[in-house]
Symmetry: C2
Subunit: 237 residues, 2 copies
DNA sequence: GTATAGTTGATTGCATACAATTTAGCCACC
DNA sequence: GGTGGCTAAATTGTATGCAATCAACTATAC
């Protein structure tokens, strides 16, 4: 059975849960992540927690310091800028590829996603942030390159993390209009315009966000993790 | 002591050893990597081997299949092309950044590396391959963005792996001349030329390499690993 | 002779135990 | 009052053991 290769390890579920928690700002940058507290909460031993932490560290979402444990990453402002710069460069390639694969179905899918974004425009913040990130990931999927998708995801997540550090609330608004413009350019088949718009969009997001720098203390409030942990304990995805 | 944060875990050493072995074609794509054989050879328990394998899997150098263990990754030809395409796009950014930071020291450093490449031109293959890869990594270092460096390294390594699958021997020659041209363009401060040359260089590497596809059997010959393992056991870097 | 089921051996998945290191508290001493 | 070291608690690093899964082989039935 080939399908059995796809069975997710519990480590995958835990990593996903933690990743979501970080991206949805339940775990804020600088928070400590002790192995046994997490293990207890997720109902697994430290072994699996450790694996998950290593993985997230490889993705750049948490920092791991020898003998001192893990904490949610606190990228510097400079690192944040570098991430957005790199992201811009990579998503340029996404646009090129998507426009080469273009079909009506693709436009429909993108517009479907946009509709969700519009719907959630005034909903809770975490949801609109997540949808905004997922727009870019959807584009990467449509580019038809697993490799490209992998890196767009990872860097997109890291950018999302920097936003929770540096962005003021509600700085995500007006991104929707820019997404719409990008879709339109793609629909027209105008590659140059689409690339320029994407570049402009990402620069705008970064500019809107990467301003002030307020220091937050490194605390441990794992209680908010409970809903995420529950899903894992119950075996959900 | 801040320096103590930099003490490498044994996992790091093992990962590095395995990575080197893969890049130097001691471990060929498809080879199985059983945990306890490796543990025995490196003189550590399966725990650390497991961690290393997970890490290399995250980097895309090995594949991990549930309950079936690890093997050196065997990227498809399409994946190889996608990797080179992405690499081209990212190194474009490297060039932009390096040229902005340009100083005489940087040119000197690059020329120093080029000299090493020339010296090793007719030496054993693994060495010249390694040096060619390290040229690109040196450039990424000089770009002054740790984020960028991390991804250039990872993708560069993955490209190196694909070459061991698809490239015929000696297809690495003539890369040196292209490296020299890039350095010259950088020294002149001609960004456009440098970017074009880098693009051309990477496309040439990919084209020279990604041709035939001969299938290799998935065997286990870990004996060749011995020199790498010894370094780890002796605590070397 | 082929195919299927059962069984054994090898390998991975996960938890637990113990060692090593850091951190925090405390008391002495300056 | 503050600084130094000492001990104890907490936390991470690593090894090991057991359960679960997979692969190969044999035997038996058709």
């Amino acid at each position: 059975m080939k399908a059995s290769d796809k069975v997710k390890h519990r480590t995958d579920m835990i990593s996903s849960a933690l990743r979501s928690a970080i991206l949805e700002r339940v775990l804020m940058p600088g928070m400590k992540l002790p192995e046994d507290s997490l293990g207890e909460r997720f109902g697994v031993s430290r072994t699996l927690i450790r694996q998950s932490l290593e993985r997230l560290a490889a993705e750049g979402l948490i920092e791991l310091r020898r003998n001192k444990g893990a904490m949610v990453a606190k990228p510097s402002l400079e690192e944040a800028r570098d991430l957005f710069e790199l992201r811009t460069q990579i998503e340029d390639l996404v646009i090129s590829r998507v426009i080469k694969n273009m079909t009506p179905d693709i436009i429909a899918e993108l517009e479907g996603h946009l509709a969700k974004e519009v719907e959630a425009e005034h909903a809770a913040e975490p949801k609109s942030i997540r949808l905004a990130t997922e727009f870019h990931i959807l584009l990467a999927k449509l580019a038809g390159s697993p490799v490209l998708l992998r890196y767009v995801e990872e860097i997109g997540y890291r950018c999302g993390l920097t936003l929770s550090l540096y962005a003021r609330p509600h700085s995500t608004d007006c991104g929707i209009a820019e997404h719409r413009q990008i879709i339109e350019a793609l629909a027209t088949g105008d590659e140059d315009a689409a690339r320029k718009l994407m570049r402009h969009h990402l620069n705008a997001v970064a500019d809107r966000a990467l301003f002030t720098t307020d220091e937050g203390g490194p605390l441990v409030y794992l209680d908010a993790l409970e809903p995420y942990a529950k899903k894992v304990r119950d075996g959900g995805a």
